[in-house]
């Protein structure tokens, strides 16, 4: 925590963008799913969760943007459209920090298999598309534990966007990226916003060791593959119910 840098200014010697800590100081494991809206990630994580629950494994499911602590602020900000790219990002980071400090970390230390629907890469992709600097975002989330597996569900933009537009009467303001002023038409704005997010995700595939999943493959077939990968990469035995 001690540093001797004379100024905040990165002009002299910019520090490299920070990666999440890789050292595992806990017996638990973390599996996350990422991807744009409509890529099928939530369905797949739900099925994975059911598989583990039915098998009696010690597991916990956590969702992006779900901490009750910052809920009222997020609601107020979104309703009145007060959020800038920076405050939007910070509010989600506060939400994540609350879940990280009060759920994810204690559960990882307690030996749970934690399943996360969206993780820090959502912030990197989405807030980056809003104009936040990637370097700043990496630092902001540098306290997050690195996942054991990051599944990246990738579906062609048209497929994903049509899945969302078909099921939703009206897109919300921030969801559609209306704050970016790309287009006055919500569906059009949503499409361009999602495209930017998709491009940002694609750029992280190698650097962040994503496991690429084809979101157009049939649900049960894809789930079979997902379970197989989890079985290979994580020793599930340690989360299994203890036999007396």
């Amino acid at each position: 925590m001690v540093t001797s840098t004379p100024d905040i200014s990165p002009t002299a010697d910019p520090a490299p963008a920070k990666q999440p800590a890789t050292k595992r100081a806990y017996p638990g494991a973390l599996v996350v799913v990422e991807g744009i809206d409509g890529s099928g990630k939530s369905t797949q994580l739900y099925l994975l969760k059911r598989w583990l629950e039915i098998g009696g494994y010690r597991t916990h499911f956590t969702e992006w943007n779900s901490s009750p602590l910052v809920k009222s602020a997020t609601r107020r900000g979104k309703q009145r459209r007060l959020l800038t790219p920076t405050t939007f990002s910070l509010l989600h980071a506060a939400d994540f920090a609350d879940r990280c400090e009060r759920q994810i970390m204690p559960l990882l230390h307690g030996g749970y298999l934690v399943l996360a629907d969206r993780y820090i890469y959502t912030a990197f992709a989405r807030d980056g598309a809003r104009g936040c600097s990637p370097h700043w975002l990496r630092n902001l989330y540098s306290f997050a534990p690195a996942p054991d597996i990051t599944f990246y569900f990738r579906a062609p933009l048209d497929v994903a966007v049509n899945r969302i537009l078909a099921g939703r009467p009206k897109l919300k303001y921030y969801e559609a990226g209306m704050d970016l002023g790309i287009s006055l038409d919500r569906s059009e704005s949503f499409r361009i916003f999602q495209e930017r997010i998709l491009n940002n995700y694609d750029q992280m595939v190698e650097t962040d060791h994503f496991v690429l999943m084809d979101g157009t493959v049939r649900v049960n077939k894809l789930q079979k593959l997902m379970r197989q990968i989890v079985g290979e990469k994580i020793s599930l035995q340690q989360f299994a119910p203890k036999k007396k």
Binding site: A73, G77, L82, L83, T84, T87
Partner: protein, 274 residues
């Protein structure tokens, strides 16, 4: 309003002490930037014609009193003033109050809620004010937020990373007081000492006085470090209100190009003049 030669002004001694200049490298190699790092998304630094003046110091250092007086003085000189402070944002100000009342919040979450509060004020109140050429008086700034989070174990580099997109103040004053003096002043003000001001969340001591002193001493050490890193203009916060105000006025007047530093508070504020 004049935004005259900052480099020369930075070398003017304040309160008899040689001013600590900001990074010399930055002063010679690149013109002093209005931001520490990458500016906030969508902000053009050249549009900001106003002046940002920060008053830092622990609880009981006399910040608020000085800001009342400086506001009156600047307005009497024809300068429009905007103020900012902690937990005053529309977005999350009340939410932080609620979190603090519950004591259930963890350090990282609190630090990020404070940063949300800070940037909401900066982007929606302060930057528009600076674009209109106002003088902004900040009752605390990123430095208190960094110090409080750092004593709770959050890495200083991490915190500086969050605030590198913030605006660099034109002048940062630090009203330095000993923790014992701050205790006396705070106790006199409210007849008690608050949970957070005494760092009770850190389990330093069950005795409120001991806890306050130890916590404020830790904060003070962070400020000593920040003062060197960011070139604070350090003032003796224990001298009289009128004396501190005189030093502040002199320094601000030279920055803004105000000739006279004469000032006597109006009847409305005369009770503050001790």
């Amino acid at each position: 309003m004049k935004r005259s030669n900052k480099k020369v002004l930075a070398a003017v001694p304040a309160n008899g002490r040689p001013a600590k200049t900001k990074s010399k490298k930055a002063a010679t190699a690149v013109p002093p930037s209005r931001f520490y790092g990458t500016p906030l998304p969508g902000v053009k630094p050249e549009e900001l014609s106003g002046t940002l003046i920060v008053i830092e110091g622990t609880d009981g250092s006399g910040r608020s009193t000085q800001i009342y007086l400086l506001t009156e003085w600047l307005e009497s000189q024809g300068f429009a003033v905007q103020t900012m402070g902690l937990r005053r944002s529309y977005l999350v100000g009340e939410d932080i109050d609620a979190l603090l009342a519950e004591n259930a919040v963890t350090p990282m979450t609190l630090a990020l809620m404070y940063s949300t509060d800070f940037f909401d004020q900066l982007e929606r109140r302060i930057l528009p004010a600076l674009r209109s050429g106002l003088v902004v008086l900040a009752d605390r700034y990123i430095f208190t937020l960094i110090a409080r989070a750092a004593v709770r174990g959050i890495a200083r580099d991490y915190l500086h990373g969050i605030y590198e997109i913030a605006l660099r103040p034109d002048l940062t004053f630090w009203l330095n007081v000993r923790p014992e003096v701050a205790f006396d002043r705070e106790f006199k003000k409210s007849q008690t000492i608050s949970y957070w001001e005494s760092g009770r969340d850190m389990s330093l001591s069950n005795d409120l006085f001991q806890s306050f002193i130890r916590y404020q001493s830790m904060i003070k050490r962070e400020f000593e470090y920040l003062s060197k890193r960011h070139g604070f203009l350090e003032l003796d916060g224990e001298s009289s209100v009128s004396r501190v105000n005189q030093v502040l006025r002199t320094r601000i007047a030279s920055h803004l190009g105000i000739r006279s530093t004469q000032y006597k508070p109006s009847h409305a504020l005369s009770h503050l003049w001790r």
